[in-house]
Symmetry: C2
Subunit: 471 residues, 2 copies
């Protein structure tokens, strides 16, 4: 009751202010007040009327993990398409793409087999995404620990051949932005297997990509360099990495690995797209998006169910406020960000072919935590000038704890840079993200309703300003 | 190993820079660089070498809830005193105070007894702190719902006498700062019972003080006005409040209440205090603190175990960096903030009697979440000038996501304002706080290690600047 009443009230206030929005171009102070009022209305609406949290509940609890090629990924396509249809929008459609279909297979085994101190010790491991499995009976080999890829080169064939290389460089705990810590360590996961295979390694173990010490293994994609043999790669928990490192320091350690993971044939899948057509400049597109696929562990709640429902909520909030955008506002839920980026690549290709112009694109793919602002990038020739314009809106965003800074946007939208617009990444508080990232712990319960809604509201506010003033 | 190495490294770097800190008073740019380096060292140290999280684990898991007058509160006094002793400090002592001793007694019963639609319905309730209980057999009366205290006045004796008044005004969900939402609703909990008793009510039910809709009841203190009879007061969950409101809207509803809570005789307890004496201005005190007591539900992790261990960690970090402060840095862990403020009052009284000067005091009592800055207050005559000086340090704090704004500090330090210094409150992200506040859910697991440590580091950085430059 209260909610319905508030909804009607907000909408009325917003409609009353709408005629003013156009009429006072010369009165900057009034303009600021109107914008402040509009953004306040957006936050009020998002914090009381949004379906983002309900949608996330369905995506995570009713559907679950949504690995590319899985039945759950297909269900997520159908569900989100239906939800976009209910808003309603001017058009909702699917964009076909072929995605890799990797599966984990049976639970992995990682076992120290010969510690004189501890005997046989089970470690908690999960195969890295895209990894091949071991032979059916598994493999056993001596472990050689390294801190980085260069050390593998230094050890060379003499030190590596026939062994399991154990990458154990931690994320830098002193980085305030945990994504920076992640960026400084993730080369071990992405490129470690092929670097080790180059010198004859039979497998790799990788310390989980997390800032803390715990018992939760983190998956994530690797890329095989086709020049070298593919070898199995398994992530172990940070606690197990510390323990294994201590054992290796004392005596030669042999580890048994078994994994049934494998790459199957490509499967057809889809990006889900919905849009509100612009009234004045329909050819200028403002994209909001996240990725619909997730890893097969947990429920893909923060990564990236949150980004999807926030993007959908941007359109819902604008609709609820009866806002008619001048420019086209498009929500894109990308498929296959995690292990291939097939959805993103397809989208850019088709968009470039069609000669589209994405004036701006905002991706939310850093978790559904309290928003602290946006990072922004663009082609060198346009970035400085356009970013300066965006920065003029900062006083309107600061009351909501939001900042703007240069920085990466999101993998799914990165290929749109050539169109000359600005690309934004929602930047939420990053401290808890790597407690959940790519793990079984990334579940609905880890997402806070208000934090999720504030992120959606922040995106909606930025879309409102981009739409009103252009770039 | 890595940690020990880093510790030594940080300390060395810090010691090397120390001589520079004094010698370049005229070179502002160098000064800025040195301060930036010192603050970076503080964060590095706090994120790798702090015992804050271990201390919190002990306080919550080994000791548990620490209601004033309880054995657990006594254990917390002894434990934290011992931990401060290990740092070591120049002096550690206990300051005696008498605290109220309230106990909840048996599990409360709140039951709708006569709904024609639903029959008998159990609601989830917890007695408010300081509340009297019901008679042994409980009470049954008709419920009258109100949204605020004024409505009770309007209904008067005719509408209230013999009834149970049900306060059901929600926290404003659109407030970005949840403490603001709390402040707008908490009068119902604090003053609702006596307002209702004035017109002959026999009991009150209060909607839980939380932003969300859930099944967790929130306790918290009430204050009886001695002019009116004390009547029992119980908080019910927000979900139950919504359900009860729907029932009341349809038909007269009678509720059965039973609670065995009661106030016992005052007990002796203590504030725990430790300090590093200043080398140049020992008479100028910079206080850091939190409160050691908690409610009897949950483990008092965010409220306020976090604030206590963060305050202790400020001194630990300064010690680890071998920093010799010019001014006296004092950590105070206050007793009885939750239901009496006896520790705070005793501290102010003794401090004023002794003619002490708290140049600054920083309380952390808003949860152990990612810090977003500090709020600051002071007496009118000094605030403007001193706060302007503090604001000059903002560029040094901004890289850590910290802001400064006028606002309340903390209940335990509020009485020091008359000494003419500045009072600060650590201001963390507030979105999740009222998911846990005063409930069984306020447990160790709800606190994130990095977020806790970042808060301690933020406090240490501010202490460093206050100590170096004075006010």
């Amino acid at each position: 009751m209260l909610n319905k009443y508030l909804n009607v009230l907000f909408t009325l206030c917003f409609l009353l202010i709408l005629p003013l929005l156009g009429s006072s171009q010369n009165e900057k102070a009034d303009e600021k007040d109107e914008d402040a009022f509009a953004i306040r209305s957006i936050f009020d609406q998002a914090l009381t009327q949004s379906d983002a949290y309900n949608w996330l509940h369905y995506l995570t609890k009713k559907i679950g993990a949504r690995l590319s090629g899985s039945p759950q990924a297909a269900a997520a396509v159908t569900y989100t398409q239906q939800m976009l249809d209910t808003l309603p929008l001017d058009s909702v459609w699917l964009q076909a793409c072929m995605v890799p279909h990797w599966e984990r297979g049976e639970k992995e085994i990682v076992r120290v087999v010969n510690s004189t101190k501890m005997g046989s010790v089970e470690l908690h491991g999960v195969a890295l995404g895209n990894s091949i499995g071991t032979p059916f009976g598994g493999i056993t080999a001596e472990v050689v620990e390294v801190k980085n890829l260069d050390e593998v080169d230094e050890l060379g064939e003499a030190g590596i051949a026939g062994k399991i290389v154990f990458y154990n460089r931690p994320l830098d705990p002193t980085a305030i932005n945990t994504f920076q810590a992640y960026g400084g360590a993730v080369d071990q996961r992405g490129a470690g297997a092929s670097r080790a295979a180059r010198y004859g390694a039979v497998g790799v173990l990788v310390r989980s990509m997390t800032t803390g010490l715990d018992d939760v293994p983190h998956t994530g994609s690797l890329r095989y360099d086709p020049e070298y043999p593919a070898i199995p790669a398994i992530a172990i928990t940070t606690n197990d990495a510390e323990a294994l490192s201590a054992l290796v320091a004392e005596e030669p350690v042999r580890v048994y690995l078994r994994s049934g993971s494998r790459m199957l044939s490509e499967k057809p899948s889809y990006n889900v797209i919905g849009e509100i057509k612009g009234t004045e400049h329909p050819e200028e597109i403002i994209l909001v998006g996240g990725h619909l696929d997730s890893w097969d562990l947990g429920e893909g709640a923060h990564d990236d169910g949150s980004g999807c429902v926030q993007s959908m909520a941007v359109l819902q909030t604008l609709r609820q406020l009866a806002y008619r955008p001048k420019r086209t506002i498009r929500c894109v839920l990308f498929m296959n960000e995690e292990n291939g980026l097939a959805g993103g690549r397809t989208y850019w290709e088709k968009s470039n072919e069609a000669g589209e112009y994405h004036m701006a694109a905002i991706e939310s793919d850093r978790g559904g935590f309290t928003p602290r602002g946006f990072t922004c990038e663009g082609n060198d020739d346009v970035f400085k000038k356009k970013f300066r314009k965006v920065n003029r809106w900062l006083p309107l965003l600061e009351p909501y704890g939001l900042t703007l800074s240069p920085g990466g946007s999101g993998a799914d939208i990165s290929g749109l840079k050539g169109q000359g617009g600005l690309l934004f990444g929602l930047y939420p508080d990053s401290q808890r993200y790597f407690d959940y990232h790519h793990t079984d712990a990334d579940r609905f319960e880890a997402v806070n309703k208000r934090e999720l809604e504030l992120g959606a509201a922040a995106m909606t506010a930025l879309v409102y300003l981009l739409d009103k003033y252009g770039l």
